[in-house]
């Protein structure tokens, strides 16, 4: 019984949507884009500033996400490659079997971390978004 009701509702909605003209869809699309970007702009996702690379739990280095970079690191199972590009970072090559670390893709927000367990290499995003560009002292 309820199924018939829902089907009816869907049919009514479909009829309504058919009445929308091509331009309407454009306006709706622009409106939604506006909402998306205003949301992104004001509810700023905390973009991290630096990438911390650790091997065997020791910090190899901390690198600015602002600058393109490629790191080649040797460890337990072989050679891994980490890329920084466009304010984000990822594992691009890894000798591990399951390649989970590569499949995690890009990270850029503070506290986001990717760990390659078998290799004991991890990358994590750190740093607060500073409200200033430089410190005078």
């Amino acid at each position: 019984m309820k199924l018939a009701g829902i089907k009816n509702l869907m049919q009514k909605i479909l009829l309504l949507i058919k009445k929308f003209k091509s331009g309407d869809w454009l306006v709706m699309l622009l409106f939604i884009s506006l909402i998306f970007f205003i949301t992104k702009y004001y509810w700023e996702f905390p973009q991290g500033q630096y990438l911390k690379i650790e091997k065997n739990n020791e910090i190899i280095g901390t690198y600015s996400l602002n600058q393109k970079n490629t790191f080649i690191i040797d460890s337990l199972m072989g050679t891994s490659e980490i890329i920084i590009d466009n304010n984000r970072a990822r594992f691009s090559k890894s000798p591990c079997k399951k390649q989970y670390c590569i499949h995690q893709g890009w990270i850029k927000k503070i506290n986001q971390t990717i760990i390659c367990l078998p290799n004991q290499i991890s990358i994590s995003v750190i740093g607060n978004k500073e409200q200033f560009d430089s410190i005078n002292y």
């Binding site: 309504l16 009445k19 929308f20 003209k21 091509s22 331009g23 309407d24 306006v27 709706m28 409106f31 939604i32 506006l34 909402i35 205003i38 949301t39 004001y42 509810w43």
Partner: protein, 170 residues
């Protein structure tokens, strides 16, 4: 003493009736809760849009302005910040409709106009809030919420107005 009578014609009756309905809707809307007190989605816009497209733009302007004034007088917020919020939203909305009302009827229906009017309504209110009532950038964090509401009501209002206009001509 000479008696002066104000003669009303049928147009005035029309405006009065529509304005009354708009005011009624506004009063109901007044009691709906809102994250920023005073900023409302503008359901009464249905009446305004209906008036503009069923009759003419000028009539619509009358109905809109009368709604704003009468509602604020009844509630008791006449000339208060809330009044200016409401007025600003209404004026921005009217302005946008004026610009776009005859634009490309082939590819754009009332839905588009309703969406744009709804957007202008919210933006108009937000400008008053940000510049005058709560002059703080923090208030802009609520903009996404209101934009989403404007989007939904824009579509809903548009569909309803469309239905009202096409069904009444039967």
């Amino acid at each position: 003493m000479t008696q002066s009578t104000i003669k009303t014609n049928s147009n005035d009756h029309k405006i009065a009736k529509l304005a009354a309905i708009a005011v009624a809707i506004s009063l109901v809307e007044f009691f709906l809760p809102s994250p920023i007190p005073g900023v409302k989605p503008g359901i009464a816009n249905i009446i305004i849009l209906y008036t503009i497209f069923k009759f003419d733009y000028q009539t619509g302007v009358w109905v809109s302005l009368i709604r704003v004034f009468i509602t604020s007088i009844i509630i008791g917020t006449f000339l208060s910040p809330t009044f200016f919020l409401s007025l600003s939203g209404a004026l921005c909305s009217l302005l946008i409709v004026l610009i776009f009302k005859n634009y490309n009827k082939k590819n754009f229906s009332l839905i588009s106009i309703s969406l744009l009017a709804s957007l202008a309504h919210i933006v108009g209110q937000f400008i008053v809030v940000r510049v005058w009532i709560i002059p703080h950038d923090g208030i802009l964090y609520l903009l996404p919420l209101f934009l989403i509401s404007a989007f939904i009501f824009g579509i809903v209002n548009g569909i309803i107005v469309q239905k009202l206009i096409t069904s009444k001509t039967k």
